[in-house]
Symmetry: C2
Subunit: 422 residues, 2 copies
């Protein structure tokens, strides 16, 4: 017989608030603090595992419910986690203020986002138990480093509220500011591609920003992501103006038929993390050829195995897979890196917000070299938890109840700015 | 750092001939001996691994070429095996005499069939190295036993040649014979469903056989598989006559549009291992709704990870996955069981020829209980190699060069029977 696997004895859920710079997007502006949830799985074998996911109250509440079903399970039974709490999905919010930038919020997306952190924590524990990196448990790496893209944002110099951490990135509200930020990004991590979060300024200004980036960094692959802010006409116009320097356009608009028409008429590859965000959205998008690159997010797809499943679906249908990112810490970056290391045909560098996060709960921050994170060979995820940092950020969560739900629109309101006038 | 993984030092390829009863199919009759290839992977860590695949000369030759590329690889790098020898695929045979019953033979299908045995052997070695069953390396089992279907064949009493092993199954050439065989099958393994290989007798006789089975075993799920022998009209007629007692009809005909029309008009679920046999065949079939159940074969899809990939594609498109079988031994049955144990939504019992194989290379034969194989908890595949049996079957391969390519049509010719007159 094989040695028996350790069983899960405790699931510790720690909601935290992490500092976030005033990054602008279609919905508004990032609040000074954003919630994340840190998951620790303990076992009767002594090994523990770490996971991370969205920390808004709806996720935290669901995690508290679902975590009870983890207790007693073997850490060898990872596939079985996917069915925890499964039931018919219902719509929670068609256009949630911030997480709406990853599509509508459903009960199943909340469930899967919670389970993703459980799954990652169990994989971490299993890897530590067996003395192998998580990627071995996913069939093994096919690359030694995972490329990430430098993620540029229009940005205020500082948060318009009294209590906020300062950042040293400076403002970026015009093409010059965007180029300045890009230089800083390249100095920070040597990124091999750049993405600009659009949908913030009038399209002509964003076109000018992309052109300024192309002029400053000739040949560097560029991406523009307005989070579905545009009409088909505007999308066609932008594609015409800067299609030649973009490796892809991300979620220019949200109607599948419009996306299909845009691709048909301009040939520009279209990426999404808004119109294909769950398995039941794959077929309608692929059937119309509305999407050429699916940006997976292991959180809302349900974990690392689910990400590999999505990669398989993309391969079968001749689509590319890359990765979406929302504000996250190093545990999630480590998880993204582990699964991305195992996926064949990852043609586009993955997205990450990590350079924007000055705070983390890791004992050692992950470092970008030449735009990439080296795939660790240490057991599990290859990261360690800084309990002091975790406790400090949890204290902040307790002290600041009004930031427990990310709301980029509220942040704008608080700044006295109407969304349409920024 | 993690412990380093053992590296592959040797790949031993042993072609064998195994006894096969005179089972009838659309192409002809199974020859008295059929080739298989047993793969042994040795490592510098002491652990070894077992794999099995098609043994016809074209596979053996390719295995000899490709095995050189395994030497020196880490057994932790399973995903990387899929790209060994990858190049543009060309058609080898549009309708090969026997393996044509799994679609056209391409260079890539040969390559993947070889790699599947390499991958299984490496998984076996990795599992032994880590002390875990292979299913743990696929995310863990979601069931404790894998259901198989009893696989009925029209059958002669004996091979019409002098040198052949006798079998004790007796003939089955009419409804009574088929029912008699089914009783024997149920006594052998307690199967919870029965499949009849059709396309052998005139459709009316096969309809009568299915009706006889339904009358004898009320409520037992039945399947009929004529290997694409019928026209759309015949398929419609059969679906009308016995659709009510069939859980699915398998490859009644081969044109996608005909299959789609058959399903649309009759509602009968259609399974295939002939029109969807490689990733590039998925989309045309799914787009037309020509196939509701894909019968995966880990050999020609390229291994266990590829089988999980196919399962993901089926799930995304609302199709079911089950498993096809060709003549195989216990190593392949163990591999099928390991991966099937990890796949969610395996709604239909898998096919297997195993009960027809009196010979094996295992130290201990796998046993069906209540139609299922228990998922082993022992390290690796959970099976051991009987070297004496392997040597004996290899000696037979050396002594009988005319059976090194399976050819069911040749077997008919040798029996002095024209295909159309049997």
């Amino acid at each position: 017989m094989s040695r028996a696997f350790p069983r899960i004895t405790e699931v510790r859920l720690t909601p935290i608030l992490i500092a976030d710079p005033p990054l602008l997007n279609r919905s508004g502006v990032h609040q000074p603090y954003t919630p994340r949830l840190i998951v620790e799985v303990e076992t009767d074998g002594g090994v523990t595992g770490l996971g991370e996911t969205y920390g808004d109250t709806v996720y935290l509440d669901r995690a508290r419910e679902l975590s009870r079903d983890l207790i007693g399970r073997s850490i060898g039974a990872v596939n079985a986690i996917a069915s925890i709490g499964r039931s018919a999905s219902t719509l929670l919010d068609a256009e949630p203020a911030a997480s709406g930038l990853r599509g509508a919020l459903t009960t199943d997306k909340v469930r899967l986002s919670v389970l993703s952190a459980f799954e990652v924590a169990v994989f971490d524990a299993l890897g530590r138990h067996l003395g192998v990196p998580v990627h071995t448990l996913l069939g093994g790496k096919v690359r030694d480093a995972v490329d990430y893209s430098g993620y540029l944002f229009y940005k205020w110099a500082e948060h318009p509220v009294a209590v906020a951490e300062p950042d040293d990135w400076g403002p970026a509200l015009d093409p010059d500011g965007v180029v300045r930020q890009a230089r800083k990004f390249l100095a920070h991590g040597g990124f091999g591609s750049l993405k600009l979060k659009g949908g913030v300024m009038p399209p002509e200004e964003e076109i000018a920003a992309v052109r300024a980036l192309a002029a400053e960094f000739p040949g560097l692959p560029l991406r523009l992501d307005p989070n579905g802010a545009w009409s088909l006409e505007t999308s066609l116009h932008v594609a015409e103006q800067v299609g030649g320097v973009l490796e892809y356009l991300e979620d220019p608009t949200t109607a599948l038929d419009d996306l299909a028409e845009l691709h048909r008429r301009t040939g520009i590859p279209l990426a999404t993390n808004m119109v294909v965000t769950a398995m039941d959205e794959v077929r309608p998008a692929f059937d119309r050829d509305a999407v050429q690159i699916v940006l997976s997010d292991h959180h809302f797809w349900g974990g690392l195995l689910a990400t590999r499943d999505l990669a398989a679906v993309c391969r079968a249908y001749g689509r590319s897979l890359s990765m979406h990112s929302n504000t996250h810490l190093g545990i999630s970056l480590a998880a993204m890196t582990q699964v991305a290391a195992t996926v064949e045909g990852l043609d586009y560098a993955c997205d990450t917000h990590y350079p924007w996060q000055a705070e983390d709960v890791l004992t050692e921050r992950l470092v970008f070299r030449a735009g990439a994170i080296a795939v660790p060979e240490t057991p599990g995820l290859g990261v360690g938890l800084d309990r002091d940092a975790l406790a400090r950020l949890h204290e902040r969560w307790k002290a600041m109840p009004h930031y427990r739900v990310r709301d980029d629109v509220a942040a704008l309101r608080r700044a006295g700015i109407r969304s349409s006038a920024r």
